[in-house]
Point group: D3
Chain length 242, copies 6
């Protein structure tokens, strides 16, 4: 089984970190392919960048020329999963939804700890549309930008732990979701520090994607995610960005 | 006052029809500028096309080199309004929201009649996120594709009237919203046929955009729609599609 | 175009202030007529007074003997709009809904700052019924009674600014609505103090009412707001209060 | 214990029928006093009439010069209960809420069968605000006007039974509420015809009001229903209608 | 009329206290029978114990060999009411729902003050399913275990009053519900201390059960609460626990 | 890895069928142990039986004397998962939630097709509490009792397909969940007949349980699902049923 794990930003080191995390939990026989978009922002922290990432992720996946069994979109709160579902016949798993869905098997309420405050409404909106928000106790910002997670991992850890602790004591969260693809790998330590299960979007997406493939299930093509109708599309694919 | 009215597809004749509608209700002194994206689909009827349109609309607006006072995104149920709000300092009005918001001043419940069934979930989702869905009685598909509205206006009219009548009798709608930028100009006749107020997204967006400008109000830049942070963005703007 | 702006209380100076605000944003050619009810309370700050105002406003509008094109009910959170919609064939705009509807074009979430704590549940309930509550971050009371707004404008300003600031920092509001007809004219200063868009109900209602008239739209008479059936009504109109 | 049962319309025969129903279930020692408003419509079937009734009911209760222990507002879907709660220190029970609250102890979902279609949205809105709508399967109109219930009881019965049956088979109601004070006395027969519990608003309100009095409970005066502040009120009480 | 009041735990002294409370408000002619389950936990403070109580309460009621007119399940937030409704033809009233339903006649919002924090989600979930949560301002834990209420009534009182005060000032509750069968009898004092109506589940359930019996109403057997189908059941009734 | 798959009824042949299904999708190295409760009903189709099953499942799992890594509760819409989560330190997956959670990765809306109409409200309520109901288009009953699924598989298939087709055409479902543990094995054929993804609860629960174990995640013990406090419990465990 081959699973594409697509970063939403253009920073290669994050793609590598994500792919490494994914491989750590993948079953024997599952190949993880990390992909970086050809265009877009070096980090995604808002609507403009997220919409651009949506197209960039679709573009990158469509440009991949080998067969694959599932795609993981590794952006937290990002747009675009629905478009990929239309374009592909294999399952598409978004890490925002994977993490929330997993957290709901583990506790009565979960919180998300993410990067900057400005991304909080995006994540909330994506969870609301996905029908996964009812048991969300809160989405909290650590105040760390995506790229700062790599640059200053110690400070990042402290900032995330602090918000996780507030989510538990104030918002009554029983599970914490790490709300950024770039937080991959921090789950163990935060679990240790807070005493509650910590869900990482990338690794939980891997187990879900593998599960769907094993069950022989893929996106329903009957209505919302039907293949796009044949029509004239200017500038797509392959016409921009690379 | 200058208002940009941006089509979400690349079909020039629709841009012209939309702009004409907008001009018909614009106040004296308001200049309406119709814009067609440089890339994207000839009609937008699904998520892939809608995400592409989101970027294409932003791209087209950013490429406009004259001053302007407001932007109307003339796609029904389309993505992207939030990105424009981040990029601009003038008000951005989406016709989906303009129509719903206007309809709510006119009756207890409204329905939307749109084009193809596959676009219904997109419209519902946009209305839900916008917080305008509670009084939506239904979103109904006429079964007419966007381009068929132009090609066969008579059949389109009948199909829309039929769904409007069902919305009124079955779903208890008291107001009908025309759920496609390409339906601009049909409102009078449908109002006559059904006996209820019919709201066109483009014209209602013009009055709302003008109102916001006159009130001196624009997008709050404090959190969700703050200007994107300065960062390296590959392939934007002006790097693709034109 | 003539628009009636009806105060909900019997204090003439508030009617004048409201009408002045309305005129400041009205289009050339729009005549604003300020009306004061013949009966009711000098200020409306609760359910009993609000229900009385509902009838008093209907009574006052029905007693107006010139033609008019739209009515604005200038009470924040007040009852009665639905009754007026039944009695009239022109659009009726309530300032509570006008402000919320306008705020939703400007930011992801809005808060209302109103007068006394006891009016908060009324405003919340009206917004809930209107289907405009989902994106309401909070309704906050300044603790200033309606008549104190006129008597001690400086203290009022400080109290409103303080609650607006809390709404922004604590409740994550991105837009502030001034939750009392008597706050007309404070918006500029509060916007300056808080850095976010501030929406005044009266002025936003004027642009919406003008827009509806220009679009040729009025209340749907098909169900909820159908003209009252002919029947024996004792004590109305003109039989009480004047 | 003395309970005032206040009709919302000015038709004396309905007041009598309501009071008779109330007496049939009242405990020994409970005195039921039927009151008819001094002004208002002969039947209440819409918002204008309902708002007028709200004031007329308050007026009538305030004019009652004997002590009493509770008030029942006998209008289905009518406005005004909140105003009475502010004015009084004894419990106020609205029959719409009494019926729904009672029905929820009897089945998983309930439906309301009422008079004219135009009153359906009023009832739904009152139930929504009361927080009693979640388990409401539907509100259905029999098509019979309030006064027709008295004039043509046989046809009324058939029309109500038919809608009750549809509510059970289509909407999955397990309990039926009679949605009009004027339907008092029909419950036994409809229960017999449909095989499900049928709740009458007036009789259920009597048991609830008696219960509150026996428990020594009355309206909280701490916030929403605090006594109106002392202020100048023109035209109230006793200044209009009688 | 005979009403069974069934404790959910096996502590006899609590059964006695509950029955005593119930008798204090029962009408003349109503006999209150207090029942203690044959098996289960000495106090119920979590899901395992609550599910066990559900079965134990059904078992105890089915083992009662005299006729009775209604059953009150005297556990706050406990499971099982639906099962009893299937097994019986008389009304079943759960004190969680009785208290909430009663509180909603008394104020705009109510809070529940219960025992341990771990029971809060159970109570919230039961209220949500019952459709009685919308006007719930909060469920707050006093931190007192069920059996501590008896052992240290003074400390219990202080802890409950403190949370009630916070519910009023922070959460805007206007009515307090005592969220534990074992708090029976504390209502008067807490009402005195907080100045708001205080609703006890057991006593309010008595008035509701009596009311249903007087109205001749019982559980609808048409769908959700139909009598269990005849089938082989191993270990029930009378096969376990006694 | 060893996963216990616990039937909720006492019919051994269903346990075997479920276990067989589970084994068909389990990873190499995963041992599936099918367990049948010692007491309870031969099929579970209502609240009484479901509550009994809740206890019987807990009892059966606690009586299992070998180590295990996860538990699957194989009843659709059944009570009890929360109790197991308190008692155990390994993940507990309920098939109702597993199916819904999986379906939400595959389409915009899903429907459940279950056995008898009386079980529909139970399933809806469980999905609502689980926060998985928002994207549920409908829960439909095939009219086949649990044991009839085995006795007359051909008729069962037709009845299920018919409701699945209605769910797709009327309710706009894009995915079908098989709403009964006893339907295990029918998914392939129904997928073939309807053209949409069909999710079986048992097999999807296996992939989810395996995923949680691989991720090293288990139930949060911090609040709702904390281990029961040590206390006197009469009749548990081992005191009844076996």
């Amino acid at each position: 089984m081959r699973i594409l794990v697509v970063n939403v930003n253009t920073t290669e080191s994050i793609t590598e970190a994500i792919a490494k995390q994914a491989r750590a939990v993948a079953s024997p026989g599952t190949e993880i392919v990390g992909l970086t978009p050809f265009f877009g922002a070096e980090s995604v922290e808002g609507n403009f960048e997220s919409y651009l990432a949506a197209i960039a992720v679709m573009d990158r996946v469509m440009a991949y020329d080998q067969p694959f069994d599932a795609v993981i979109q590794a952006g937290y709160g990002e747009h675009g999963r629905e478009g990929l579902q239309e374009l592909l016949n294999v399952p598409v798993v978004d890490i925002t939804e994977a993490a929330a869905s997993t957290a709901m098997f583990l506790g009565h309420a979960y919180s998300v700890v993410t990067t900057l405050d400005r991304t909080v409404p995006l994540i909330e909106d994506r969870l609301k549309l996905a029908g996964l928000y009812q048991r969300c106790a809160s989405v909290r910002a650590s105040g760390m930008a995506v790229l700062e997670l790599e640059e200053d991992p110690l400070r990042a850890m402290e900032a995330i732990v602090r918000q996780a602790e507030l989510a538990i004591s104030e918002d009554k969260a029983e599970v914490i979701c790490l709300g950024c693809g770039g937080m991959a790998g921090l789950d163990e330590q935060i679990r240790y520090r807070t005493g509650v299960p910590v869900v990482d979007g990338v690794t939980s997406a891997v187990t879900i994607a593998e599960g769907l493939v094993r069950l022989g299930l893929s996106t329903s093509k009957i209505r919302t995610y039907a293949t796009p109708r044949p029509k004239k599309v200017i500038g797509w694919p392959g016409k921009f960005g690379h």
